[in-house]
């Protein structure tokens, strides 16, 4: 596999211009949607089937009672261990040779399991096409040597595109510099490939703890529950089975008339 490509979103550089949001819509030919009042400048409230890049405007109260902005251009994380990809029963969701996660629109049948399996609430169902949609990492662009539309258009380089290992090194230096400048909470989110979900191929530099940005502190792979829950189901099946056998067995001896040999369990 080629070197993994990634996007690094440095929220300390974001000015909330939403150029990324617009560039994404234009390149991917995503129609506009009815705006919705979220109580702040942010629009929309969350990712939709027509909004793959979304600038979050977070109002954070300061010690003196005034509000300060935290701005973050949010996007599909293209997780190394992706809940949506593991949930997809059709194989429509696949990993590209760049390490990103895509939904093949020609295969998706609209079961919507991926929608509930994304730990970040990114994947959305498109009622017009009957299929699931999300950020494609501009697969058409990166395959042809161009950066994703959002990264290309970002005027402050808050969104950077490149090889993952290069970007992680760069991000580490940036965190150290910010800490020196007094941003005590500056931290990387999803940069560590040994961290949650095996690392995110769209990772972030945050100026506060993840939950302030409505991100899970420790995102988990949904499929972690399958084994334990299945074993518990098998156990309860055995108990139900015993109860039913007791109810049907002829009293005072083995079942009459059924030639089942050494079958009594």
């Amino acid at each position: 596999m080629a070197r993994t490509l990634a996007m690094f979103t440095d929220t300390s550089l974001c000015i909330g211009c939403r150029a990324c949001q617009v560039a994404c819509k234009q390149w991917n030919e995503l129609p506009s949607e009815q705006p919705e009042w979220t109580g702040s400048y942010q629009n929309h409230a969350t990712f939709t089937d027509k909004t793959y890049r979304l600038v979050r405007f977070i109002e954070k109260p300061q010690a003196n009672g005034e509000l300060s902005w935290l701005l973050m251009s949010d996007v599909c994380k293209h997780c190394a261990q992706a809940g949506c990809l593991e949930a997809c029963p059709t194989g429509a969701i696949y990993r590209t040779e760049h390490g990103t996660v895509n939904i093949n629109q020609d295969v998706c049948n609209g079961c919507r399991y991926c929608v509930s399996s994304c730990p970040f609430g990114v994947v959305a169902f498109n009622h017009d096409t009957g299929r699931a949609n999300k950020c494609t990492f501009c697969n058409d662009r990166i395959t042809n040597g161009l950066g994703p539309a959002c990264a290309k258009t970002c005027p402050t380089d808050s969104i950077q595109f490149g090889f993952r290992d290069d970007l992680v090194t760069k991000a580490g230096k940036r965190v150290a510099a910010l800490k020196e400048m007094g941003y005590k909470q500056a931290q990387l989110y999803g940069a560590d490939t040994n961290g949650p979900l095996g690392g995110l191929n769209a990772f972030f530099l945050l100026l506060d703890k993840p939950s302030t940005y409505a991100l899970p502190e420790k995102p988990l792979l949904p499929q972690r529950n399958v084994l334990v829950d299945s074993l518990l189901s098998v156990g309860s099946a055995l108990l139900v089975g015993v109860g039913a056998v007791l109810a049907f067995r002829e009293r005072g001896g083995p079942a009459g008339g059924s030639p089942k040999g050494g079958n009594d369990a």
Partner: protein, 271 residues
Amino acid sequence: MLKNPDWHLLIVWYFFLGGIAGGAYFTAAIADNFGSPRDKSVFRIGYVLALLLIGLCAILLILDLGTPSRFFNMVTNFRFWNPMSIGAWMLGIFGIFAFVSSALSFAGGEGVAPLRRRLSLLGSIAGFFIAAYTGVLLSATALPFWTDGRLMGALFLVSGASTGMAAISLLLYLSGESAGEGFGKVKRADRYAIMFEILVLAAFLVLLGGAAGPLVSGSLAPLFWGGLVVVGLVIPLLVDLVGLKLPPAVPAALVLVGGFVLRYVIVMANA
């Protein structure tokens, strides 16, 4: 901000009827293998009911897809760690079992009985899978209410068994067979299943802890406590234990109502 999958009534009905199909088949298999030859009406009804319901289930699932014409894409892959993928395969496999068992319980005479009995034990595994996997499927998502109680699959399985037994009782009653001993045995089996379901449900709520909010104190709480706990579990069990003189169809119908309410509140709590 997490997203719900927009699963509504089609899926609720599927979870409910799939549970009955699996439970009815399993009950029929037990009656066939461990009961007396006089329990024939029990296993005949169980096998045929499973066959009819599993066919209906497939239709409900296809209709729920965003692109129904692509339903076949579900089985162009096999992903053993993915409940929906194995579920789609198992739906077909269970359908074949239900078909063969139904056929062998009407045709072939006593000569095919040993084959039918052995097949039905294998088919019961598929039936239990159909009843339980929908719960495991919900618990393998990112939504806390579905994922924090480890017993969703077990709960669906026990409820499937119980509602399967209740459906057989109801059909026995409607076909005038409620005086036979088979009816009494199904009722006794359902008594054990209901008792077990109450225990599993209690453990499930404890495991859910704070995430149980939508069920125990939200807008669905009256339906959960009234429709499932009281109407669907406690009353049928009390009627049975006290020996109240009611038409036998009543407790069976209440168990079925409870089984539907269980799937309804769990699916709709995230809708």
